[in-house]
């Protein structure tokens, strides 16, 4: 009698588990590998917001496929990034979205490649990422896009001499070197000032620019904490420059809100103005979901995280429809991507890079971010010369 009950219970359990798997047959599991702690925690959590919004928007719009996100914190460390990817794969992830910092992305994407998983990111601009021959690696942004925007703005300003202050981290050094080369090719006098990421007092550098370089503009290639230090030192020493131009993480609503004294007239790369104006249906869906989930203005990290993930989710859905999920179908579908997104047109080249990536330049004006370059995308008038002091 006991055995009969046991057999019945087992049968019920098997039936239940079969039913469960059938009910979840359309669930596509995506791994999220991001730095949620450590030095990159700020950017990691920003990108994660975009990824979660992408899953929310996708699931709302798609009845057939549902995205299930599973996340692992890589603690801003390359070894942990590899472990994170391996853990996500063991939990059934079909592809990986996330990654921040080229030094973390390189080993993580390598691990994903070995496991046959597609890896998509917007957190690493080092060109070695796309030149290492990985067939499953995709990224939506690159150094060239940031460099084009900065050079374009400085050229339009007719700036003749630039001091480039850059962090010695891999991505920032790469961009600064490319920027120096491009500006020099245009006949602009360039002086480079590399700084250790641990530097907190920028007055000696700014003083060198003020007394020795006497440049017309300062280009900053670093991160939020670096910009605050540089701008603070510049406000104290007041070098005779016409513009303070930065790159990522600068022309953002967060910087405008947190450092209102330091930001006026400062330029930085930007996708959208602030307050954000979303004209497309995709943009409106993103904006609505982001504000609902996070009760704040969307920022560039969220936008990039959203775009990379949405493209991946769409590729996964197409591969699932064709039954090629397990046969390199996801990478194949990613390569077929060719559409307008929140950050512009995205199409992946044979190396997984997005050759169409170009950025815009925004300027902090009265607590807002106004797009001032290129002219055809401008949402306001440039204030030039213009510095925060």
């Amino acid at each position: 009698m006991k055995n009969t009950y046991k057999r019945a219970a087992m049968a019920a359990l098997v039936a239940w588990s079969l039913g469960l798997s059938a009910a979840h047959a359309d669930e596509l599991t995506v791994g999220v590998q991001l730095p949620m702690t450590g030095t990159l925690a700020r950017v990691g959590s920003g990108m994660q917001e975009g990824i979660i919004v992408a899953a929310e928007v996708f699931n709302k719009a798609n009845g057939k496929h549902k995205i299930k996100l599973i996340s692992v914190d890589d603690e801003s460390a390359p070894a942990k990034a590899i472990a994170a990817v391996e853990k996500l794969a063991s939990q059934g992830a079909l592809a990986i979205t996330g990654g921040y910092g080229s030094n973390n992305i390189a080993p993580a994407s390598d691990a994903a490649g070995k496991l046959g998983l597609v890896y998509v990111t917007s957190g690493g601009v080092d060109d070695s990422l796309v030149n290492s021959g990985h067939k499953n690696f995709f990224r939506i942004n690159n150094t060239a896009g940031y460099q084009k925007a900065m050079v374009g703005l400085l050229a339009d300003m007719n700036i003749k001499s630039v001091s480039v202050i850059y962090s010695t981290k891999e991505a920032t050094t790469g961009l600064a070197k490319d920027l120096e080369k491009a500006l020099s090719a245009k006949g602009v006098k360039v002086v480079g000032h590399a700084f250790d990421p641990a530097l907190t007092d920028f007055k000696p550098i700014i003083n060198k620019i003020k007394l020795r370089d006497k440049s017309e503009a300062i280009a900053m290639v670093g991160y939020e904490n670096d910009y605050v230090g540089i701008l603070r030192a510049a406000r104290v020493l007041k070098p005779a420059v016409k513009a303070m131009v930065g790159v990522w993480s600068l022309a953002t609503p967060k910087m405008a809100a947190d450092f209102p004294d330091l930001m006026p007239n400062v330029y930085g790369t930007a996708v959208l103005p602030f307050p954000a104006e979303f004209k497309t249906a995709d943009g409106k869906s993103f904006n609505e979901a982001y504000r609902r989930l996070y009760k704040k203005e969307p920022d560039y990290l969220g936008q990039f995280g959203y775009v990379q993930s949405m493209l991946l989710f769409e590729a996964l859905a197409r591969a699932a429809d064709k039954g090629t999920l397990k046969k390199d179908g996801v990478a194949e579908e990613m390569r077929k991507t060719d559409r307008e997104t929140l950050i512009g047109h995205v199409r992946f080249g044979s190396n997984g890079d997005n050759p169409n990536f170009t950025h815009r330049m925004g300027q902090h004006q009265a607590g807002k971010v106004v797009i001032v370059w290129p002219k055809d995308a401008a949402t306001g008038t440039i204030k030039f010369p213009g510095v925060p002091w």
Binding site: A41, R42, D196, L199, V228, V236, F259
Partner: protein, 290 residues
């Protein structure tokens, strides 16, 4: 060139004052208990985030956060002591591992409470330029340089003149002999942790007032404080100031005369040279005896 070097020396001096304030608490506990408190940087950071909360929540100048920071950071410091104080064997090594773990817990607690965003003061008064001839600085830097000097003098006076200060030194020199003299070593060590908490609280408010903070920054502060403590020589409070100023000036001169990319290397180079020539640090016990 003269102007550049003068500014570098001035910036280095102010930076040194800031480093000294951060290192004092670690130096005190290291000197008194032979405990390397690797959570010291996180305690400084905790105070800095309290200053941020007071400024952003109440709209007050961060300087007014000092009383709140004192209470919270001293309590946290006492909790660190209560854990570290339980170590009976191989205190130096075991406390190193234990306080490292406490530092990790504090970093993640800060991350959970205040998120990963970078923070700094919005006070215009603290950020305004303070100009003396060709020398430029922020008001906040000068204010807290003076505070740092006052804290160093105060700590030196406390250690050399007050009963508790002398008790701390006695326990540091010979724990058993101090007990025979009627000193309760446990209580004395607790007092030294409370004083270290006071120093960390002031250092944190200072840091928020002229620097930029993020949750991962505590580790950097601890390393810097440890370098200065060893550079100064264990137990030397004036040595902390001199070591910190030397480090600050060496870094600023490197940025001015060579490259800012070499700043950390210059600091470490100075540290290694001093230890090579004077293994007990600039003002270490053997040096003083000599």
């Amino acid at each position: 060139m003269t102007e550049l070097i003068l500014q570098a020396l001035y910036s280095g001096l102010l930076q040194g004052g800031s480093y000294a304030l951060i290192a004092l608490g670690l130096a005190l506990v290291f000197g008194a208990m032979k405990v390397i408190n690797l959570a010291h940087g996180e305690l400084v950071l905790l105070s800095a985030y309290i200053a941020y909360s007071v400024e952003s929540g109440l709209g007050w100048n961060p300087v007014f956060a000092i009383p709140v920071s004192l209470v919270v950071v001293c309590l946290a410091s006492v909790m660190v002591y209560l854990v570290v104080g339980r170590i009976k064997k191989d205190r130096e090594i075991n406390s190193l591992i234990l306080t490292y773990g406490i530092g990790v817990i504090l970093t993640n607690a800060i991350l959970l409470i205040w998120k990963a965003d970078v923070r700094s003061t919005g006070s215009s008064w603290l950020q305004e330029a303070f100009v003396v001839g060709p020398l430029y600085s922020m008001r906040g830097e000068v204010l807290f340089f003076v505070v740092s000097l006052a804290m160093i003098v105060g700590l030196w006076w406390w250690l050399s003149r007050s009963w508790y200060g002398r008790a701390v030194r006695a326990v540091s020199s010979n724990r058993n002999a101090a007990m025979l003299m009627g000193i309760n070593p446990g209580y004395t060590e607790l007092v030294s942790f409370v004083v270290a908490g006071i120093l960390a609280a002031v250092a944190g408010v200072a840091l928020f007032s002229y620097g930029v903070i993020s949750p991962a920054y505590g580790n950097v502060l601890t390393v810097k404080a440890f370098i200065i403590t060893v550079l100064a020589g264990i137990g030397s409070i004036p040595g902390v100031l001199i070591g910190a100023v030397l480090l600050g000036v060496a870094e600023a001169l490197t940025v001015t005369l060579a490259s800012s990319a070499l700043q950390e290397l210059a600091g470490m180079g100075l540290f290694l040279v001093v230890l090579f020539v004077m293994p007990n640090g600039l003002f270490g016990a053997n040096g003083r005896r000599g």
